[in-house]
């Protein structure tokens, strides 16, 4: 039995290759995602291992709430004395860190996209410096010397003795470079720029005078780090903890990996979409194969094979295809991983690239998915194959093995309704308690069900739909057009499944188009209605923030009436990360329209929190209630609600606090800098004068971008467009698989119609006409897929947009040109898919074709 099955597989190498290809691409996407994220993990692991090299114990502030990217709160400097007094401590030094942007010799800020710009104190005792080593020069001393990392120095031709500007939360000042440092083998910290200062200078620049971010300890020769940690812990005051360097290294590396976990999840979702699309192709292929081998399988039955053996024959073929595809897919995953790195780089994330490890998990998941999906998709056709009666071997009958249309309608409708219900329930509320299923999973499962249902139901509308689409064809291309339309509706289920594979990818593209356009429209409306300021100053790239000195300078100038600074912060809301904006309550009325409905901005200046109306009503809060807010620095605070507002389009947060409150509760990396400034020109100041003034002030801050309202709006649109490009790039694979599917189905159909094509050729159809006939058919199938995709995408886009009002997306906008473009895209995809099958059909040997049984 196995041998027979294997013979069949290898007798049809092309079929095997085309089917395997679709699975392979899906598996490659999954494997590529794992390899890609593993590479990142590996990089960070190595990085932190190196950073803590030679250190034994780290003393740092303790935090109840580990939210966002906030580091531990600082501690008083006198903790160091206590630590030094502990027996067994060989050396210990305090250090501080914060944001520091180095400028190149031309005065341009050096801001890598992705990795942070880090500043910190340099230890005097080099044994405490981890793997930091001086490549050139000497450790900086005093208030105007700096050490910079070797990569930054090399890339920007900075050498020891040069004078560079460095921006810190306190100021932009000039420093003499006294040292170029490396980190073991590496020239920098995973892409981050680093500026090192003498401790006292660093404490001043990061506003941590008399404080340390952490204390690094090394024990005497032969000291056990764990024991040393325990003895240090006994002398520490409340709120300060001691951890071994090894634990801290692992914790930090894990925290970074976790923060990139969303990336892995997102990529895997796209990979699963690709696999899902592939499953359509596999199912279709096996269904066609079973149909074509009907006589052969019936003969097997006639000579004594059981139904179960026939199932096995088909399943064995699926196993071979699945295995081959999985193995190739995993290998191809390395290419995908490289591609992902390039995509990330293209949208601005410079990720360090080291060797890509192949984890056992990658192999297991890759093979499990590839094999599982292939076999699962082949089971139904296999079971149908076993129902072929032996008599089919003797008679020329077309055995009907399909589900009846009525059953199909009923099942399809039920699945459709259930899928839509799951999506709506996930988006809008808690009509049903889904238990362990969370909302996103519910929406995902619902979407899969909608796709399946549409695929099932669409076979019922394929006929009229294809005839409608093909209606103008005969006038364009008389006979080939007619034949193409008729061929496309011959096997409605086959056409429906093939088209559905394309539908999935294009539905998601349409969905992202609609969501993206709605976000753009909503942002545009929010800017129009909510932005009273003339200018918005924000950071470029991902550098986190900029010195508040800029805002102070602008506020002091005559050209500006009001300058509002906004600061971004994470806090813990019932165990999950939430974020807020700290705003300047004195000026915000003049720069940003908040639509305060209860309480007042003035009250917010006294403390408390202002909450967006939707969040209020969702949580069932009323004015005067207290919100338990967990902060990394100040711990759990009971914060009274002092106001409610409706417009979150500009502040893009659902919780607002005053700047005083912000400063009391946030400290550390990225929180002592401004995130955004909204500046309103003074009355009577000409536009060009205010522009000139703000540009002049910003000259010292090359990492900020000054935009007027129109430019700000454009920048918001650009961001959305960038995301759209990325999502669509990730969906391309799903679309490519669908194109292969169309090609495969066409090739198999052409094989079935060999005699027919032979006859057409015999009575005078030219090769060119034959090709045209196949192409038209592919285009019709592809356009059906695109049209179905648009319908499903419209549904997804409309309901998701409707559900995102609370996120500030309150305008539904459907980009009709792009949506219509998908039809044309579909037609082109069909044309591409038809390329090889058309050529094959045109090259059919007429004699063999008409003699073909």
């Amino acid at each position: 039995m196995i041998r027979t099955a294997l013979k069949t597989v290898f007798a049809h190498k092309l079929r095997l290759a085309l089917t395997a290809l679709s699975v392979m691409i899906g598996v490659a996407f999954i494997a590529g995602t794992f390899i890609f994220t593993d590479t990142i993990d590996q990089t960070f692991n190595d990085l932190f291992d190196d950073l803590f090299e030679g250190q034994d114990v780290i003393v740092q502030g303790e935090t109840e709430f580990d939210v966002g990217f906030s580091g531990p709160p600082p501690m008083d400097a006198d903790v160091l004395d206590a630590v030094l007094a502990v027996p067994g401590v060989e050396a210990a030094e305090g250090s501080v860190g914060g944001m520091a942007i180095i400028y190149d010799l031309e005065g341009e800020a050096i801001v890598p996209t992705g990795p942070p710009t880090i500043g910190g104190s340099m230890t005097e005792d080099l044994r405490l410096a981890g793997n930091v080593d001086l490549r050139d020069g000497r450790t900086p001393e005093g208030s105007s010397e700096v050490a910079i990392d070797a990569r930054t120095a090399e890339d920007n031709n900075i050498a020891v003795g040069d004078v560079v500007k460095v921006q810190t939360p306190t100021e932009v000042a000039e420093y003499e470079v006294t040292a170029i440092i490396g980190f073991g083998e590496s020239d920098n910290l995973a892409g981050a720029t680093f500026a090192g200062f003498e401790l006292a200078t660093a404490q001043r620049l990061f506003e941590l005078e008399g404080q340390y971010s952490s204390i690094v300890v090394i024990g005497e020769e032969g000291t056990n780090p764990d024991l040393l940690r325990s003895s240090i812990a006994t002398v520490l005051p409340e709120g300060v903890e001691a951890v071994t360097a090894a634990d801290e290294s692992a914790a930090q590396s894990e925290a970074l990996s976790e923060s990139l976990g969303f990336l892995q999840t997102a990529l895997l979702v796209f990979a699963l979409v690709a696999v899902f699309v592939a499953s359509f192709i596999i199912q279709n292929t096996f269904r066609i194969i079973v149909r074509q081998r009907q006589k052969e399988l019936a003969l097997m039955r006639a000579v004594g094979a059981t139904g179960g053996q026939v199932v096995w024959m088909v399943v064995i073929e699926a196993i071979v295809v699945g295995l081959v595809a999985s193995v190739l897919g995993i290998a191809f995953g390395f290419v995908i991983a490289q591609g992902l790195t390039s995509v990330m780089a293209a949208i601005g994330f410079d990720l360090p690239s080291t060797t890509a490890p192949l984890a056992t998990r990658t192999i297991i998941v890759g093979v499990a998915v590839g094999l599982g999906v292939t076999v699962a998709a082949a089971v139904l056709p296999a079971v149908r194959a076993s129902r072929i009666p032996p008599v089919a071997a003797l008679q020329d009958v077309d055995v009907r093995l399909r589900m009846s249309d009525r059953r199909r309608t009923i099942i399809g409708s039920v699945v459709l309704v259930a899928g839509v219900a799951l999506i709506l329930n996930g988006l809008f509320g808690d009509i049903l308690d889904l238990g362990p299923l969370n909302e996103l999973t519910a929406i995902g499962v619902g979407a899969l069900m909608v796709f399946l249902a549409v695929s099932m139901l669409s076979s019922l509308i394929v006929k009229p739909f294809a005839r409608f689409l093909g209606w103008p064809l005969p006038s364009v291309d008389n006979l080939t057009g007619t034949l193409a339309v008729e061929n496309s509706v011959r096997k409605p289920r086959r056409t429906a499944t093939t088209a559905s594979a394309l539908m999935i990818g294009l539905a998601l593209v349409a969905f992202f188009f609609i969501l993206g356009d709605s976000i753009k429209a909503s942002a545009g409306a929010a800017i129009e209605e909510g932005l009273r300021a003339d200018y918005v100053v924000s950071v470029t790239g991902f550098s986190g923030g900029f010195s508040p000195a800029l805002g102070e300078e602008l506020a002091a100038s005559d050209e500006f009436d009001a300058v509002t600074s906004l600061r971004f912060g994470f806090w813990d809301r019932d165990g999950s990360d939430e974020f807020l904006m700290g705003i300047d309550t004195e000026t915000v009325d003049r720069t940003i329209f908040l639509g305060v409905t209860q309480g007042s901005v003035a009250a917010l200046g006294e403390g408390g929190v202002m909450v967006h109306e939707d969040t209020m009503s969702d949580a069932g809060w009323v004015l005067g209630d207290t919100v338990p807010m967990g902060f990394a620095t100040s711990g759990l605070q009971q914060v009274p609600i002092v106001g409610e507002y409706t417009e979150n389009g500009i502040v893009s947060a659902n919780f607002l606090v005053g700047l005083d409150f912000y400063e009391e509760n946030f400290e550390g990396f990225g929180t002592d800098v401004d995130f955004v400034l909204a500046a309103k020109a003074a009355d009577g100041v000409a536009l060009e004068d205010s522009r000139a003034a703000i540009e002049a002030a910003a000259v010292d801050y090359p990492n900020v971008e000054v935009r007027d309202q129109a430019e700000y709006r454009q920048s918001q649109e650009d961001q959305v467009n960038q995301l759209l490009v990325m999502f669509n790039a990730l969906l391309i694979l799903a679309v490519i698989i669908a194109v292969f599917g169309i090609a495969n189905t066409l090739a198999l159909s052409i094989f079935e119609r060999t005699r027919e094509i032979g006859l057409l050729r015999a009575v005078g159809m030219s090769r060119r006409q034959t090709k045209r006939m196949i192409r038209w058919e592919a285009i019709i199938v592809a356009i059906i897929g695109a049209a179905l995709g648009i319908v499903v995408g419209l549904f997804f886009g409309i309901v998701v947009t409707a559900a995102m009002g609370a996120q500030g997306i309150d305008v539904l906008s459907i980009p009709s040109v792009q949506i219509f473009g998908l039809i044309i895209f579909g037609a082109v995809a069909g044309l591409l898919a038809a390329m090889l099958p058309a050529r094959r059909a045109a090259k059919l040997n007429i004699l063999e074709a008409i003699a073909y049984e």
């Binding site: 034949l483 005699r755 006859l759 015999a762």
Partner: protein, 250 residues
Amino acid sequence: MTSTQAPLTGAIAARIDNGAKIYGEGDTEVRALDGVSAQFESGRFTAIMGPSGSGKSTLLHCVAGLDVLSNGKVFIGDIELGSLNDKDLTLLRREKVGFVFQAFNLIPTLTARENVLLPLLIAGDDHDEQWFEQVVGILGIDDRLSHRPSELSGGQQQRVAAARALVSRPAIVFADEPSGNLDSKSAAELLDFMRRAVKEFGQTIVMVTHDPVAASYADRVVFLEDGKIVDELLDPTPDSVLDRMRQFGA
């Protein structure tokens, strides 16, 4: 020979000169046609007979431009097929040749009417409605024109195929066992029509068959054995053909 509308008496619709078709090489060499020369006169109905493997189908395929000779020449009218590329060969088949095969003659997705008009539709040419109606009328398929092949009987399907072969007024019609799959009544109807097409419209038909009764409808029977023409018979009857056939096995 009496034909009411025959073109120039004695004109040659197609001919093959010293045609050879060789498959394989060396020990495995098979000569399907081995130096065949024959002429098919306009306005005549010629049957090609021979036992299985005699090369009769190969002869038909080569003369019809479906297959290419290894040696020798084939002419349809004055056109030598060996000089034509695939495109010209396709055009020649479309314009000058009609076909009726044993089975699978019709495109299942097209109606009977469309199948009849297939060569003209492929060419994008207008058809002569009067001639079309005359042909389908004689064949008795005028009331089945809007049906798909799957809705027609085997005999009706072959008559549609015959109508298709005639509707473009080709120089020559090739038929490969046209009645092979039909019951005797349907076969007689089809063959009778083919004979009428020759007598009344001056159509030239070349038919391959192994059935002496079918061959007896022709004006002339050419006998083929081992790739060579071994005999021919004019104005055959089923008995005279059968007699000649009996000599093959002997």
